[in-house]
């Protein structure tokens, strides 16, 4: 906790956001009656398995929250099986392909996950997820089953694909297809759930292209950021079509002597991700429900903030690059409507423009991709420049004194409490 404040020490508006988030944000008001033990357990699992999504899911409106929570846990269960290298392919394949049928098997549990799978407990108690799944409306169930079926089969195909396992993703088309299976389908499923809930228009479910782009933009950003981590686990998601322009092997990118190539390769794959932005903004512009809007928009703004940070940043090849927690919290608090979100995208595309340089082989293409974001905003939100965002700057001048003293007081308090307060430290661990 204190470290997040320290990281943001030169960004006072982030300190404001951190304080606001920590002390002044109303907790989600919904309370689950104590007799609904399986539902309580499901939300506990949500908090244990997801730092990124737990809070945004819990803030969803009543008509949709449980369905999204169960959808998330089902996919998390599927993902835990897919990731588990201790399960032999002969066993894994039918598990993945039939996982959607498992959802109807009351009492089904699975305790054969490897000891290192962090979410193995979810499968050990998967009967509670199934129980809650069966309580959902029939239409919600159908969507979850349909997406689980498609994703499970997609994962099984990849798991069996020897070339994929050895060489990783090959072409840019493969890259899109892989991301479609692991993330685009989630977007498509979510849109269907939103429509069925009645909180969004029925047409949203048919915008599969846009829903897919939402997933692709997030997944590609994660894949770019996780280069080092994935490579150490011998997972190769960067498409060969991109890295082979620069190096003979994906792992060469992190080697000394390849710095310029590594940076140029990074720009190429970031450009690939940037091209989804107009679709993502178009999708967000269709969302009507405020809680669904935040749920969809928060991960998207995290992604553009991350891409802006990763662009031209060699640290991608040496360590884990993450946006500051203060920045994260500031963005979460801002994700209230399409104008705010569009302005966040414009802000970060300008960061990219400032870092762009004419020696980069994708210089002009990146410039054009950023121009497209700007033009999207002006075309679809023509009054965006007269829209006044939450003016943090003016208030800042008055608040800086207060913040600094509050910060000092907090630090003193924290230092005194440090050895007692391990719990408090974790409470802000969103979006890790």
């Amino acid at each position: 906790m204190a470290s997040s404040f320290l990281q943001s020490i030169f960004h006072p508006n982030e300190i404001v956001a951190l304080i606001q988030y920590k002390f002044f944000r109303p907790p989600p008001i919904h309370v689950i009656p104590p007799e609904q033990k399986t539902k309580i357990r499901c939300y506990e699992f949500l908090n244990e398995t997801s730092r990124s999504f737990a809070s945004v899911i819990q803030e969803l409106d009543d008509g949709i929250r449980d369905a999204i929570c169960i959808f998330y846990l089902v996919l998390r269960g599927l993902d835990t099986i897919e990731d588990d290298m201790s399960i032999l392919i002969e066993k894994k394949e039918p598990l993945l392909r039939n996982f959607h049928k498992t959802l109807y098997k009351k009492g089904w549990t699975f305790d054969e996950s490897g000891p290192n799978e962090k979410d193995r407990q979810l499968l050990v108690e998967f009967n509670v997820v199934i129980e809650e799944f069966l309580r959902l409306e029939r239409q919600f169930q159908d969507v979850i089953v349909d997406i689980t079926n498609k994703m499970g089969n997609g994962m099984a195909d990849y798991a069996k694909d020897a070339a994929h396992n050895k060489y990783g993703v090959m072409t840019n088309k493969d890259f899109d297809l892989y991301c479609h299976y692991v993330a685009g389908l989630v977007g498509i499923g979510l849109s269907s759930l939103f429509s069925i809930s009645g909180l969004e228009k029925p047409e949203l479910a048919n915008d599969t292209e846009l829903s897919n782009s939402m997933g692709l933009f997030l997944q590609k950003t994660n894949i770019i950021r996780d280069y080092l981590d994935d490579l150490s686990g011998n997972r190769r998601f960067w498409p060969k079509e991109i890295w082979s322009i620069y190096v003979a092997d994906l792992a060469d990118l992190k080697k000394p002597g390849y710095e310029t190539k590594a940076i140029n390769c990074l720009s190429t794959i970031i450009l690939n991700a940037l091209q989804h932005i107009p679709d993502c903004l178009t999708y967000l512009n269709k969302i009507q429900n405020r809680s669904i809007f935040s749920f969809c928009a928060i991960p998207q703004v995290m992604a553009i903030a991350t891409l802006a940070l990763l662009f031209k940043n060699y640290n991608v090849y040496t360590s884990v690059v993450k946006i500051r927690k203060g920045e994260t919290v500031k963005l979460i608090l801002k994700c209230t409507d399409i104008y705010e979100v569009a302005n966040i995208f414009r802000y970060y595309t300008r960061v990219i423009i400032q870092k762009n340089d004419s020696k980069d082989p994708n210089f002009m293409k990146i410039s054009m991709a950023c121009g497209k974001v700007e033009q999207w905003c002006q075309t679809n939100l023509p009054d965006i420049d007269s829209y006044s965002p939450q003016q943090d700057n003016d208030i800042m001048i008055f608040l800086i004194g207060f913040i600094l003293s509050a910060f000092a007081a907090y630090l003193l308090h924290y230092v005194n409490q440090e050895h007692l307060d391990y719990q408090g430290r974790e409470s802000l661990d969103v979006f890790d």
Binding site: I353, N356, S358, F363, M364, M368, C370, G371, K372
Partner: protein, 340 residues
């Protein structure tokens, strides 16, 4: 439908691309009218004449039984003579319109300019065709282009003539005489390291082939049903980019990369430019650095081309990056030849 085409200004930069595009697609009746003759193709009839002389253009249209006219002729932007702009852009255009009406021409497409809506200082942010003409135009070029455009659009429907106007922005291409030489001059003067403004202003450009393509589409699609008759259309590459980015990309084609970049806020630029203008006023020399230039490099200037997309079916054929490469190639070749 088979048309007898007349391209006025067909020896000019945009006109020539239109002529070649028509030849390429197998048109058999193409006539060019221009004040000079630079190209000699056997399949094309060429009339050399002066637009301000009604008989010159009337004779050409009558003799060749023209059905579709594309009027691209205009003196270059930087021409000094105000009188010439009025003579060609307004009087000349009047003559073209009269000759079209008197000879029963069916279609007239006019090459206007995106600058007809520019007052010289306002930002043009995603501007579309609903933007009005400014009360006061920035210069005579813009004023006369706007006057010509109005005449053309008002003539729509007279004696069965259908008209439309295209407003391209920042036309550039191989052997252009305005855009690319401007970029190269900055490079030769060693001024590429200076940046006025924060490079967050977006600017549109149009690769010449896309511009020509829009003209061909406009002739093809000119009709009442398509909602193209009597209409103006902005034409660009559809990808606005930060002002300095295209400059730096063009310099990069010559392997020139600014060693470092000195950024000046635009307010500072205005002060310096004011002094430069004052100095040039005193000395009587042409100022090299003007407030207009500061504005030109620091304001937004880009357009929404959805109307052209929807009604003309226009989509750029060559993207900005490829266009800039092609535009630089002849200059790179000539540099290489000089070295040999």
């Amino acid at each position: 439908m088979v048309e007898n085409y007349l391209i006025i200004g067909g020896d000019g930069f945009v006109g020539r691309w239109i002529v070649e595009m028509l030849i390429k697609r197998g048109e058999t009746s193409i006539t060019v009218f221009d004040i000079v003759q630079r190209y000699f193709d056997k399949e094309i009839k060429h009339y050399q004449g002066d637009l301000s002389n009604y008989d010159d253009i009337n004779e050409c249209i009558k003799k060749e039984n023209i059905t579709a006219v594309i009027h691209t002729a205009s003196p270059p932007h930087d021409g000094k003579s105000e009188e010439l702009f009025w003579k060609v852009n307004v009087e000349g255009t009047k003559n073209v319109i009269e000759a079209c009406i008197n000879n029963g021409v069916k279609k007239l497409v006019y090459t206007s300019s995106s600058s007809v809506v520019y007052d010289g200082y306002s930002e043009l942010i995603n501007t579309d065709e609903t933007a009005p003409y400014p009360e006061k135009h920035m210069n005579v070029y813009n004023e006369t282009k706007a006057a010509g455009e109005k005449l053309v659009l008002e003539a729509n429907g007279r004696n069965g003539l259908l008209t439309c106007a295209l407003r391209p922005c920042g036309i550039f291409g191989p052997n252009d005489r305005q855009a690319i030489p401007g970029f190269i001059k900055v490079m030769e003067l060693g001024q590429t390291k200076y940046q006025i403004g924060n490079n967050e202003n977006f600017v549109d450009w149009t690769y010449v082939e896309n511009c020509a393509y829009a003209h061909v589409l406009a002739v093809d699609k000119l009709s009442v049903e398509n909602q193209t008759a009597g209409e103006a259309f902005f034409i660009t590459n559809g990808t606005p980019v930060p002002f300095w980015d295209l400059c730096r990309f063009i310099w990069a084609q010559f392997n020139h990369y600014p060693p470092y970049i000195l950024k000046f806020p635009s307010s500072f630029g205005f002060i310096i430019a004011s002094f430069a203008e004052l100095a040039s006023f005193v000395t009587g020399k042409e100022p090299g650095f003007t407030r207009f230039r500061v504005r030109f490099t620091t304001t937004n200037r880009y357009f929404n081309i959805n109307k052209a997309r929807n009604r003309l079916g226009y989509e750029p054929l060559v993207d900005l990056e490829e266009g800039a490469r092609r535009a630089c190639q002849p200059v790179i070749d000539s540099f290489n030849n000089q070295r040999k």
